[in-house]
Amino acid sequence: MQRRDFLKLCGSAGLGLAAPVGLSPISRVEAASADSSNYDGPYYVVFNASGGWDTTYLMDPKGINEMNRLYKEGDILTQGQHRLAPNAAHIESGMSNENFFKKFGDDLLVLNGLDYSVNNHSPCSRYMATGKLDSLAYPTFAALIAACQGADAPLAFLTFGNYSSTGNLVPMARVPYLNSLNKLANADAVNGVARSRYHDDFVIDRIESALQEQMNARVSQVRLSRVERSQSMLYAAQLNSKALERVTPYVPKSSPKERLSRQADIALASFKAGVCVSANLNIGTFDSHANNDVDQMKLLPELLAGVDYLIKRSEELQIREKLVIVIQSEMGRTPKYNKNNGKDHWSIGSVMFMGHGIQGNRVLGATDEKQFLVPIDPKTLLIDEDGGIRVRPEHIHSELRILAGIEDHKFSKQFPLKVPDQERLTDLWG
């Protein structure tokens, strides 16, 4: 049976297969490198500020009505079309807003006035990640794009936290340590030492052939759906895992200490090796019910530094142009401080995008002086307080699917977002 036919037969599992078998280990690696399973982008990265960020200290500055103690309205800075809260004077580490917008403003699309609709962490996280508020079944965008475009990649969907439901479309992969990738890369070698192999090459080839024959035979057997899916997934997982050999050259020798940078290194090495489509990068905890300004001034610069690191490293790996980056949080923070100098949950917030196919230096949507959402005309994307719509996660996700070219994929249709045509943000990406 040809590999293509076999893939077709296994299609019901939503997973494909990668490296061809029956070749010597060396030629197998070479073949794997040239194989279609070597996913070549775009690569999708979702940065998540877990806990709820204070957008008024980043891309939606206010400085009025005692909303911000660290600056006044007159202190607000601009960079191109962007307005930003000044914070360079208040941070001890990480990247300031000033530097971030200066460096990336031209690439950055900001949407202010996003309606999360509720203000609890759990449903908001789910809503922002999937575009669907009232379902536990929907996959996150990162999982969906991985399933649609690279399910035969061994680490198609990497996650480091946040809501990570896959909709049973694609396995999620957790790789918490960089050096884990090295260990996994040489699974057929004793202790991962390439020169010391468990079996002679022809034994490995025989084993792989037997497993493939077994899988071929099963395709025509009457099986339970769960058995059918799990057998295909298992076979794909083992076979695709061989492609991890390609990751090793891109694993940095040392690991940075910053949380997001470590996650970014794992994601980038996997992207570059063609074994990964999407990654959820995550830091917490932004949930600053007490001492809001202290927490946000620590975490926002850390978040921005993480984005900066990812982009810098992606340039070194020559894949920057293939990145699509979403920077989000599951909620905003109230316009007022509470008595603990904190800010509580707020159902209005912002989201930022940059990368492949996204026109930067743009700010869409708005919040008013009390941090309430201002509706926009979905066609012109301009403020329309009377006839506009409240932009919600499903609007964003609907456009993300279009940006990724998966809006008509069967997996997308399996999880419809049902945004009416008249509410589509057709020019969101510019």
Binding site: D115, F202, I207, S241, L244
Partner: protein
Amino acid sequence: MQNVHDNSKRVQVFAATLLLSLATLWQINVVTVSTAFGDEESQQPSDAPSKADHKGPMCFVVDNFFADEVWAKVGERTCLKCHNAKGDASESTFLLRDPSRDRLNRAVAMQHNRKAFARMASAMEGDKSRLLQKIVGNLDHGGNEVLKVDSTGYQILDRFVHRTNGTPDNGPAITDYDAPPFFDGVEMISPQRLLRRVTLSLAARLPSKSERAEVNQDGLKAVDVILDQVMQEDAFYERLQEAFNDILLTHGYDGVAEGALSYEHFKSRLWYQDRDPRKGLNEEEKKELPYSHPKMIAYTKLIREYREGMRREPLELVTYIVRNERPFTEVVTANYIMVSPYTSRGYGIYEELVDKFKDSDDPFQFIPTKINALQNRNGRTAQESPTGFYPHAGLLSSFQYLKRYPTTETNRNRLRVRMYFQHFLGIDIMQLAPRVNDAAAITEKYEIPTMQASDCVVCHKVMDPIAGLFQDYYVVDGKGIFGPRKDGWYEDMFEPGLEEENLPAEERWRSLQWLGERTAKDPRFAVAMVEHVWYILFGRRPLLPLEDIDDPLFSAKRRAYQVQRSEIERIADLFAKAEFNLKVVFKELVQSSFYRVDGLAVAAKDPRRKAELDDIGVVRLLTPEQLERKLTALFGQEWGRLTHRESKFKILYGGIDSKAVTERMTYPSGAMGAIQRIMSNDIACKNVALDFTKEPSHRNLFPNIELNVVPGDGPDADAQIRQAIVHLHEHLLGREHSVDHPEVERTYQLFAGIVSDAKATQGIEKIGSYSCDRVDGKRLDDLHYTLRAWRGVVTYLLRQHDFLYE
């Protein structure tokens, strides 16, 4: 500030609505209907499975269209929320009954509802049915517009009106699918394989010879008896603890383990420091005692075991209840805690208990006891208690449980309420967060939105009284558990209580006991516990109710959900009747059709039938812990790389740390595929040569063959090899294949092919490999390459679905 009392009636209505909607949305019970359209009086088989594959008389006499379309897609999820006796529309003549609230009278309730709908459908207002007018907000409908004219729900009601009034219904036929009995055409696992699955899953061992003989003789009946034995074994309780930690996550509370005991109330929580070998030594003397010194090794072991025991206490309560067949309701009512010789020292009660411990040096021997009401370090009373004891209420009052789910000044115990609902009533209150038009505006508009804004009140009326029951466990700095809020309990929250019952003042000191007693009587408790055991046995939670009424397979998926739900409820009823003995749940579920599903006799061609059967079968990827135990059971020695404390593979292979990573992965990623390859290579490496060096009668893997038996050396040799393969398939995969089975043939071809390749390859050594085929430092001879070929065979088998899945 808006007058709270102005809202009181509305609040009551919303609270009643929430209680109803909790039952409805989370489907505590759901009506099971499987009758043919238009045949209201016909007798139909029930879908509900049972141990005897029940095919009893029909349960309901309501037509399919009403049950599957009108009720399932509109009535229960839209109308019922208000149009019930306690709802917003309680004064309406269109009153519905909730079939899920009363399992015994579902049919009657459904009949009642159908009649109510039919009356509304046939009542005309002008030229249009009142039903269709009301639903779009006309005729002063109190709920305003509920459905839009172009919605699926409206179309369903429109069809119902046509059907009721005898006018043509232009909708598509929905009755061309004659659903067979649910498990029709589904093959069940053989009793022998069921036995193996159960002993491996619950007791980390293979079945004994005598158990196999019993099952050979008595079939499933014998499994029932053996289960009683299995559930007395220590390994079962280790499994139970691990499984309940997956659910409760109590291992993952923040900080050091003894942090569960506050500085203020437990002077002796750091008792181990008195045993520090370095205590009292000067810096120079301390250098003489590095951590590698035996005294320091013993000391750190003591601390580690104390901490492990401390974290384990809530799970020890679970195992104590089950082991002693006490009512499992004690998880919320037990007026005791479990302590070990080590943890009792932390509580300062060791001296009182020392005689009760069989071995006072065993850090993991746990006994039940009570602790006294808490006192401050200065000896003053910290906790009022008429009995003089801490008011234990099972897990609800457990320091560890409360520390795992701490309170803050903003969540005000609401996290605990969420977990209370999830763990003990099976309700995820964050599952279906109701959308409001503008949550931010509501927050701004009301001074106390949670008490005044109807959108918020609907949940907070239920949650906040329970949060108030935890009010005395309100230490927010993470340095303890017990202690009321300094400024008194919040006045901007509904009064402490449960549902519509306020906590009496005289019960305040034992508020969690008060909560636990009521929880134990709640019918949702039994269902939730069955769902927990389902999760333990199946590795996934039961199906959720359907959400998308536009799904063309809605009815089929709903049927799958309903049949599963019926089984869970059946077992919940038995569980309650058996005085909440959790072992009954394990036994019933293990013997249920759902757990025994093994395959299909014929392929399901109709997409609706496929959808019905989509989720059946255990088919569970083994967790790192389960895989380790299986390896140990089959090979007689642990591998360790998946579960050791320093193992990096545990999380990579989908395990949890109970803190940041709390959900197990159920589908293998490429990273997990790589670990499977490492495992299969390494296990074969460590065991094949070793096995061949043992006396044949002591071998696990190769009791009936030697390395000098070479494929192609004649019929006897080939037969012997095939027999050896049959043994390996049985031992490693649990498959009883005949010698001519295609899978045996495939394995034979693999073995023979490897030997043949080796023969054809120049430079192959006649001795086993340095890395794998050494025993006692000596490489074994491998003249024919059979040793290495068998190692290849074992590697191949360990990568199989039959091995890696349950």
